[in-house]
């Protein structure tokens, strides 16, 4: 009972402190919409690096990752390396820097705004925002599921799943409604540094408590002898490649990441973040995923529906420390969810509400509507998270796969002036429909020429269906663009940046 009081006390106190810091940050900002969304377009290197880094500080990293390392071995570290350390960094340059250059010239704030202006189509603008908001929904759910499962694990089942999910939802809404983006950018930085530190302290603590890595490895060699060898029936080359490619491409179209491409103060900020990226990935993912793997070698039993990380920490570190790590993770998740929700509300107001509902909305009314939108979105995601449609990794992958369907059409449009409006619509709608049908239509098998083939499966021969769907979208953009003429309202020189 005393343990539960300490756990709850630490978690609640931490979340409250994070909220108060957010409110203080709010006091030094104004209420104008531009400021609320983008912190005045004046984000410096460390803050940009950490607000982008903070989007990695999600339930996926802290809980989903260790869970999968516990169940299947540590190879996810490599998936993260290819995906986040290398591919995402390259896309950061190819998409991010290009968008930054275009944004500097024309003052865009959202992806939909940029595309809508280039192709002279408000419908395209709205469609891009709608697709983004659709896939943002499961990613917010993921944070709520992660928090629910974390508190269940920490309290050994005493705190029910729904209570943890509800707690983080409440704080998300309070935080974003009171604080806005300046608060988010600030606290992202503090929380990112805090979580990096406590994660490494946790690694050392566990190592000392169990008597060294030799003990863990000999435990692993009897419990899961296949874990330390590279590759397995689960981690096939097809799985590693398709997961890494889909997620890396998907991440660039996340509203909160994509908007960061427009906000950097100077290109030096983008360059430095790009350079430091692989090292940050290394510092964060190696310890978290190793902790999950070690739990398997230490014979940790995880209760049904709980995350492995809190259970491991409870076993080998003091109650308060385990609670502090989980609280820090939850606060970081809250903070990054807020970046998502804020970007989502910016997409909603700028690209859907203003163009299609009321164009001349006052600034204060816009800020109010944005806050209401965030509260409604987070509440709906909370109710959906109660159905627990899959594991954290599965829900995360589904969301990334949806965003990834935007990436290739956008990239082609950024670099090839020959893309037409029809081509853009064909690629976006085609890729989405193909992927959506595979997510929502149950798998059926058909017999063709004596072979049994699956249809509407999430993976074919081990390859995530999101990858072929991306290819189909890209092919549609190119072929339809060749077959159609540009619409009169298109401005195909909008994305040319080399003229200056």
């Amino acid at each position: 009972m005393a343990e539960l009081a300490i756990q709850l006390g630490v978690v609640l106190a931490y979340l409250l402190v994070a909220l108060i810091i957010g409110v203080i940050a709010y006091r030094v900002t104004t209420n104008a919409a531009e400021d609320y969304y983008l912190a005045d377009r004046s984000i410096g290197t460390i803050v940009l690096l950490f607000t982008t880094f903070a989007t990695l500080l999600s339930a996926f990293t802290f809980f989903g990752g260790p869970n999968i390392a516990y169940a299947q071995g540590p190879e996810w570290i490599l998936v993260m390396g290819v995906m986040d350390g290398v591919l995402f960094a390259i896309l950061w340059y190819l998409i991010g820097y290009k968008q930054w250059l275009i944004g500097q010239k024309h003052g865009y704030v959202t992806l939909g705004e940029m595309l809508g202006d280039r192709f002279g189509s408000e419908t395209l603008r709205g469609l891009v925002a709608l697709i983004s908001l659709f896939w943002l929904f499961p990613y917010v759910m993921l944070q709520q599921m992660g928090a629910g499962e974390a508190l269940t694990g920490l309290s050994n089942g005493v705190i029910p799943y729904w209570a943890g999910a509800a707690l983080i939802t409440l704080f998300m809404i309070l935080y974003v409604v009171i604080a806005g983006m300046r608060g988010v950018a600030w606290t992202d930085t503090i929380q990112g540094l805090f979580m990096l530190s406590v994660t490494w302290i946790a690694v050392v603590w566990v190592l000392v408590a169990v008597g060294g890595i030799g003990v863990i490895n000999s435990g692993l060699s009897s419990s899961n002898p296949e874990f330390l060898a590279l590759g397995s029936d689960f981690y096939t080359p097809a799985y590693i490649i398709s997961t890494a490619v889909v997620i890396a491409f998907g991440v660039t179209m996340f509203p909160q990441i994509n908007q960061r491409f427009f906000v950097a103060k100077s290109d030096r900020v983008l360059k430095r973040s790009f350079t430091l990226w692989p090292v940050l990935v290394l510092l964060l993912f190696v310890p978290t995923f190793l902790l999950g793997t070690w739990a398997a070698g230490l014979d940790i039993t995880v209760p049904e529906g709980a995350n492995v990380l809190p259970v491991l920490l409870n076993e080998y570190t003091p109650v308060w420390f385990a609670a502090l790590v989980i609280a820090g993770a939850m606060a970081a998740m809250m903070s990054s969810s807020d970046s998502m929700l804020l970007s989502g509300s910016s997409y909603f107001m700028r690209d859907l509400y203003k163009p299609f509902v009321t164009p001349d909305v006052s600034e204060s009314r816009e800020a109010t509507l944005a806050r209401i939108g965030v509260a409604v979105f987070a509440t709906l995601a909370f109710f959906a998270s109660l159905t627990r449609p899959g594991t954290l990794i599965e829900v995360g992958n589904t969301a990334f796969g949806g965003f990834a369907q935007l990436t290739l059409p956008v990239m082609i449009a950024l670099y090839w002036g020959g893309v037409t409006r029809d081509g853009m619509f064909a690629g976006l709608v085609g890729g989405q429909l193909l992927y959506l049908s595979h997510v929502f239509v149950p798998t059926v098998t058909v017999d063709v020429a004596g072979m049994t083939l699956p249809l509407f499966a999430r993976a074919y021969a081990g390859w995530d269906v999101a990858l072929p769907a991306m290819v189909v979208g890209a092919v549609l953009v190119v072929t339809v663009s060749y077959a159609t003429a540009p619409a009169p309202t298109e401005e195909h020189d909008r994305f040319v940046v080399s003229a200056d």
């Binding site: 390396g81 290819v82 340059y93 060898a229 590279l230 080359p237 030096r268 790009f274 090292v279 190696v286």
Partner: protein, 71 residues
């Protein structure tokens, strides 16, 4: 002309960086060095290599790659 060759080299370097982020030649290998699998050490070293390569890229080719002359 020289710029063009350098551009091709950058593309090749990024391609190699991506492909060997996973040490395919260690597939199925479970050798443990200093407590961690050899392939994990590869990953750690590779991320440092990636940062070094990215740093050089920002100094040498960042703006030329986009065809702009920016500060």
């Amino acid at each position: 002309m020289a710029d063009r060759i350098v551009d091709v080299l950058w593309v090749v370097a990024f391609a190699l960086l991506t492909v060997f982020s996973v040490p395919w030649f260690l597939w199925g290998d479970g050798t443990v060095v200093a407590g961690l699998p050899a392939w994990l050490w590869w990953h750690i070293g590779w991320m440092v290599v990636a940062t070094a390569l990215f740093w050089q890229f920002t100094k040498r080719a960042w703006d030329r790659g986009m065809g702009v002359t920016n500060g």
